[in-house]
Amino acid sequence: MNTLLNRATPYLQATPLAVILGFFLAVPILLLLIVSFWDYDFAGMYPGWETFNYTDTLGSWVTWKTYLNTLKYAAMVWALTAFIGFWVAYFLAFHVRSATTQIVLFLICTVPFLTSNIIRMISWIPVLGRNGLVNSGLVNAGIVEQPIEWLLYSDFAVVLAMVHLYTLFMVTPIFNTMMRIDRSLVEAARDAGAADWQIVWNVILPLAKPGIAIGTIFVVTLVMADFSTVQVMSGGQSASVALMMRNQMSLLQYPAAAANAIVLLVLVLVMVAGILRIVDIRKEL
């Protein structure tokens, strides 16, 4: 009896989380999968086992172009946030001496998050617009004659807003990893005659990889699933995968959107699996 209880204990302990994950994660995804095989028209959805939602999605050049476009955004935003995130975290972890200042500075990084995502995004519009702050500044200073058109409603605007929105998701895990780096390693490297850049390149960067990997997972999934930033900052001129899904949902084509969601889910899981193969984030946990 006692041994039975002993053996059941870990399962019992895991039950609450399993129930929560099962109910809020597994069941919805299962429903999504089922619905993606249904038929539909404007009036409703009809249970069935149709594959045309997938063949339509994967057979259309729009899908491929949209996925490529979204991946392009993901790559650009990832490169920029990783670069900025690494140096911000490096500054916080290695240049700021006192723990109090570190915490204060880190909290300052999070201040923008007290406002909503949408507000932070939309605030770029009066800055970047044709008659916006940047353009009127440049024109009044005589630097350019005509306002620069590509500042707003362009890929530039989309990437800028995303970098602004998502950099902190990179800073936090990298900062966290860097704080755990044993300072004696840095001292040892210095004693061995390493220059500053060699310490960063050969000691800190390899040890910060798990943090970068976690940040990458955050940023990539956020960008892949984004629709509002792309819609607002490109002025509806660019497509993203999630925007395509939203268009389908607004036209009540739920099964088509579900099929699209499954494709996106598979793609993102593959990407995350790839990241996990390269970097062992369990070292971090």
Binding site: R130, N131, G235
Partner: protein, 429 residues
């Protein structure tokens, strides 16, 4: 249910259910009282109305409660959701407040019951546009889903549309307007006279059209035709070849950088215009008013090819019967009796029963909104905000001038799904 049981059933049921209030109900049901609203307060009746938002106004619900004692529960959705709800949840509403092109999809499914025009007190006052498609006897019938083509059915159980007036209405028309392009007169720098002007290279990167496929494609068709690129047999019901040519044209224009943005919601169109990002774009009339309210010049420019028009009405849910059906007729008769019409006219829309609305508008308001005359005094919105200063003239002029030159109505195409797919390609291109 046959005709006879319908007529007598009303009073019998009311009598059984409500006693005292039944007298009023019976009198109403038999048509003894006309043009004189029955107060339903003793027997509280609630009507659930859902629709696309334009006419789902709280002011109407309040006034309805005050005049009729009928509580109106209103739900607003977007047009696609409205179409779906109308069909899939027919018991969730009593009154469907939908546009005619949605009705074309919805009515054949049998969720809306035809209404007996002899029970509509103001049927005679409804403008002929909704009866035969002609505003004046010599008007040309516009393309697209013109309301009169889906306005009548043969009988109380019919599900297919009749060719002409029959005495069985699918919906009573309530609100409609003529849409065109909005411009910034201070920034365009020349006269705008045609839909083709939106493609003028001078406005490269300063134009926008709306990203709502069923309406955007119509604006695109107006542009294509005005440029002489293509003449459509029916802009409201394109062939796949016409859809292909229209979308290919849009994609080419997009890639050449003609458009600044595509807007999806009302506020986006207002911001694009007021910030000067665009100088000419598809627009809705309240958006033009909103830009002007900021003190920025904006004109709802009449164009020589005519307007793209839309219209909505009230339909009776199929499940209505007895006292509820009476109340619904009563509500519709109240709706067309003038107060609501005046309210809608003062918002820049049009009421379907113009004569009754006139009694609820001042002479100056009538002159400005309907007759196209210069305003003698300031023109106020229904909630008392100054919309136009004295001396202003409505863009496009009078009711006859605007609704008389409608080129096409919002519509649903047979090739709807194909069109939406190609539209998505345009946005992704």
């Amino acid at each position: 249910m046959t005709d006879t049981t319908k007529k007598t059933g009303i009073s019998r049921r009311s009598l059984l259910k409500t006693g005292a209030a039944a007298a009023a109900g019976a009198a109403l049901g038999s048509g003894a009282i006309t043009g004189f609203p029955t107060i339903w307060a003793q027997n509280p009746i609630t009507l659930r109305q859902f629709g696309t938002g334009v006419s789902n106004l709280n002011a109407i619900a309040e006034k309805c409660k005050e005049d009729l004692g009928i509580t109106l529960e209103m739900t607003a959705t977007d047009s696609d959701a409205a179409a779906q709800r109308a069909v899939t949840q027919p018991d969730s509403y009593d009154i469907a407040d939908i546009e005619y092109w949605i009705l074309k999809k919805v009515f054949p499914t049998g969720v809306i019951q035809p209404m007996d025009t002899s029970r509509l007190t103001y049927y005679d006052k409804i403008v002929p546009l909704f009866k035969n498609g002609k505003l004046t006897p010599d008007s040309v019938i516009a393309q697209g889903t013109a309301p009169h083509t889906v306005g009548f059915v043969e009988g109380p159980d019919s599900k297919s549309f009749a060719a002409g007036e029959t005495g069985w209405f699918t919906m009573v028309p309530t609100i409609y307007n003529a849409d065109t392009l909005g411009i910034r007169p201070d920034l365009v720098g020349r006269d705008i006279t045609s839909w083709a002007d939106i493609m003028d290279p001078a406005f490269k990167g300063k134009t926008s059209i709306l990203n709502i496929p069923s309406i955007g494609i119509m604006d695109a068709a107006m542009i294509m035709e005005a440029m002489g690129e293509l003449t459509y047999a029916d802009k409201g019901n394109m062939t796949t070849e016409e859809i292909d040519r229209t979308i290919d044209f849009l994609i080419a224009a997009k890639q050449a950088g003609q458009f600044r943005a595509f807007w999806k919601s009302f506020d986006e169109s207002v911001n694009l215009m007021s910030s000067g990002e665009v100088v000419i774009q598809s627009m809705w009339s309240p958006a033009v008013a909103a830009v002007r309210a900021k003190g920025i010049p904006c004109v709802y420019q009449p164009l020589k090819e005519g307007y793209r028009s839309w219209g909505g009405g009230l339909g009776l849910a199929a499940h209505l019967s007895g006292a509820q059906l009476d109340a619904a007729y009563e509500y519709i008769n109240w709706y067309t009796s003038g107060w609501v019409g005046g309210y809608l006219n003062r918002q820049g829309y049009y009421s379907a029963a113009m004569e009754t609305a006139k009694e609820y508008m001042s002479e100056d308001e009538w002159g400005f909104w309907i007759e196209g005359k210069a305003a003698a005094g300031d023109i106020l919105s229904p909630d008392g905000v100054v919309m136009e200063k004295a001396g202003a003239v409505r863009d496009g002029g009078s009711f006859e001038e605007r609704m008389g030159s409608v080129a096409c109505w919002n519509s649903v195409m047979d090739e709807d799904r194909y069109m939406v797919r190609r539209w998505n390609e345009f946005i992704a291109a």
